[in-house]
Amino acid sequence: MSFRLASPVTRRQFVTSSTAAVVAAGFGATAASTQSSNGPMSGGSMRVIIDTDPGVDDAFALLLAMRSPELKIEAITPVAGNVPLELTLPNALRMVEIAGRTDIPVAAGARTPLVRRLVTAAYAHGENGLGGAVFPEPKTKPVAEPAAELIRQIIRKYPGEVTLITLGPLTNIAAALGSDSELAAKVKGLVMMGGSLSGGNITPAAEFNIYVDPEAARMVFQSGIPITMVGLDVTRKTALTDDHVQTLSAGKSAVSQAAAKIARNAIEHNRSQGFLIGPNMHDSLALTAFLDPSILKFDDYYVDVETNGELTAGQTLGYSPNQGDLRRSPEMQKKAESSMVIRGSAPTLAGTKISPVLRDKYVPNTKVALDLDSSRFFSLLIGRLSS
């Protein structure tokens, strides 16, 4: 089954009409069906753009992507996030050089979030963004086009074919979508590392990627693009171990050696901070959700982003008609879904009794990853990097 939008879906249509129900019903099949119909190793048929802020686990994910024969990587678009663009851009270039894939265009993205000041995570990724693992200065140059422009060009060139894999703040994607109202309907899907329905990391509410640019994230969640969200709910269940490092060290390829070096430094960094388990492989897991969705379990949600909270900006909220483990009878479940509204905070002004409704209808826009098979994930990750 191949997934196609019958007609362009705009933000307004998406949030107000039932067109989106078609989207939601269809997108579960995107990555999985493409993969199974083409076979896992048929070679470079799944077009992706990787938007990233390397970043220790970004670097891992980039290496994994370049070692995944089913992907056709159309571009890598670094953005400011874990560290400033001055570092994420050369780090991305370093990774394409290590993997011998300098044929992949790398385009410089946004230096700052849409409206906020940049907050980085050098505390977790080291001052150079690679956990202190030092690699030579890259010789490769980025392409002339800015990231958002290149993203737009590629999606327009292959309408309905390109999946966006986002591993950092969503500034580049939001800029591309905002500047071209027809673009969202031409994107096949978006798989993000970001968000959480079970508490954040940089604040109790927000996961880092969404926290850095909540406004951009909100634009993306409301764009109508079928989204797969791989957030802290699952990524915090992944931990890199010394065994993984040993396997990588034994690998002969430059990729395996580079991955071993980054992994060793990252584990060391984690230990120096007193953590008892190794670093999470957030971004590689997001990429894996695209490569082999059967490794994770997903549920449908309408996800929106808090942009206004004094303490909670960047929190992802998953609206669902399901009440935890309390399951309803099928007909009551259907009723609950059709009558559910997306409700906002209670009014603050005296005399107002209307409960602010953000959407008058529940329409899922996101498949949220809620569980994973960790050993299958690591055998895919370490297996591909060390082979």
């Binding site: 800015p146 737009r152 905002g178 909100r218 942009t307």
Partner: protein, 366 residues
């Protein structure tokens, strides 16, 4: 070389260099507009740019605001045909503000009270005082209704507005004036696609914001809640904090001192040109919001009073979402707040004379 041919060559060179010089003196401008039509303040300001020989219009970029962008683009293309300026490229811009939305504005109204004017989110059929050409009901973003002034034959270029802005400031570094007559979505996107936009441009000139709003604001709403800025507050925040060389603002405070009245209408009606006929048929009395901002670029002496103020916008999604923030020039503020030249007083006679001259002049040769 014979003496005579030398003289001919020399004078040809002089003429050529003079022409070049004239071309160089022209203001290279990108006109970013929420071009509701026909013959609104949006279109009349476009005509000022198209009719005046003071400008080299690099292109017109459209953005949703007074109307949805798709309809505006068609009306702009038709206007170019009427004005005989099909040489000017039109790039389609943002269809939606960055974060604000029709739904959010309705939620806001439920909490804080009715808004007077909501541009493309309004239902103009309920505005009894406007004439037939403008009394259309609300329509969806992609819908382009029948155009009373005629359907255009030309098309927009295959480039987004934000990308067009980025490309032009790189092509003519230090020379391009970006003029914004509508919400600032395209400009904000251009700034985030390429942060060099602000420093490469010559100047940002815009119609937007409200400070003291002598006339009590629009339709009784707070004078600091001006439509262009209110429609996309986040875009204004991005644009106002960018490192432009210069920012000039035409706020509603000065616009409400102007008026397209019967005298202007009658003076233009006397001319028999496609532009004059278009205006005579469709133009309505009203404030010269955008025309004033465009005309002051041609003749700065139209502005008789201005202030240097720090200007920004409230982007908290509460009761003051989209309201103008401003401070005097001598206060101590963080470095990200930027000063702008804000126009407050106008020589209306100069403005009206210039406007009539431009709107009645002989048509451009096609």
């Amino acid at each position: 070389m014979k003496r005579r041919s030398f003289v001919v060559l020399l004078s040809a060179l002089i003429v050529f260099s003079y022409t070049l010089q004239l071309q160089a003196q022209k203001i290279k401008v990108i006109v970013d507009q929420d071009a509701r039509g026909p013959a609104t303040t949006d279109m009349q300001s476009l005509l000022i740019f198209l009719q005046s020989d003071k400008f080299e219009v690099l292109g017109i970029t459209t953005v949703s605001g007074d109307q949805w962008m798709k309809e505006e683009t068609q009306r702009t293309l038709r206007l170019l045909e009427i004005a005989g300026r099909t040489d000017v490229p039109v790039a389609e811009g943002a269809l939606f503000p960055l974060l604000n939305s029709k739904e959010e504005s309705e939620r806001w109204e439920n909490l804080y009270g009715k808004l007077g004017y909501k541009g493309c989110w309004s239902d103009f059929s309920k505005h009894a005082h406007v004439s037939e050409a403008y009394r259309a009901g609300y329509h969806d973003p992609e819908v382009v209704p029948h155009l009373a002034e005629g359907e255009p034959h030309i098309k927009p270029i295959d480039e987004s507005a934000a990308e067009f802005i980025v490309r032009m400031v790189h092509k003519y570094p230090g020379e391009v004036v970006i003029w914004a007559g509508g919400p600032m979505t395209n400009i904000a996107l251009a700034l985030r696609i390429d942060p060099q936009v602000a420093t490469l441009a010559k100047e940002l000139v815009l119609m937007g914001s409200g400070m003291y709003a002598d006339n009590g604001g629009i339709n009784g709403v707070d004078g600091r809640r001006e439509f262009n800025w209110w429609f996309d507050p986040e875009a204004v925040r991005i644009s106002m904090r960018a490192p432009w060389k210069k920012i000039t603002i035409t706020p509603i405070d000065i616009s409400v001192k102007t008026n397209v009245g019967p005298e202007l209408h009658d003076a233009i009606a006397k001319a028999d040109t496609p532009v004059a006929r278009y205006l005579t048929k469709y133009s309505e009395p009203g404030f010269m919001w955008d025309e004033l901002s465009a005309a002051a670029l041609i003749d700065p002496s139209i502005i008789t009073g201005q202030k240097e103020l720090y200007v920004d916008i409230d982007i908290d999604h509460g009761p003051s979402y989209g309201e103008t923030l401003f401070w005097g020039p001598d206060v101590s503020l963080p470095s990200y707040e930027r000063k702008a030249t804000v126009q407050f007083d106008v020589d209306t006679k100069k403005l009206y004379d210039l406007y009539i001259k431009l709107m009645t002049q002989a048509p451009h040769a096609q």
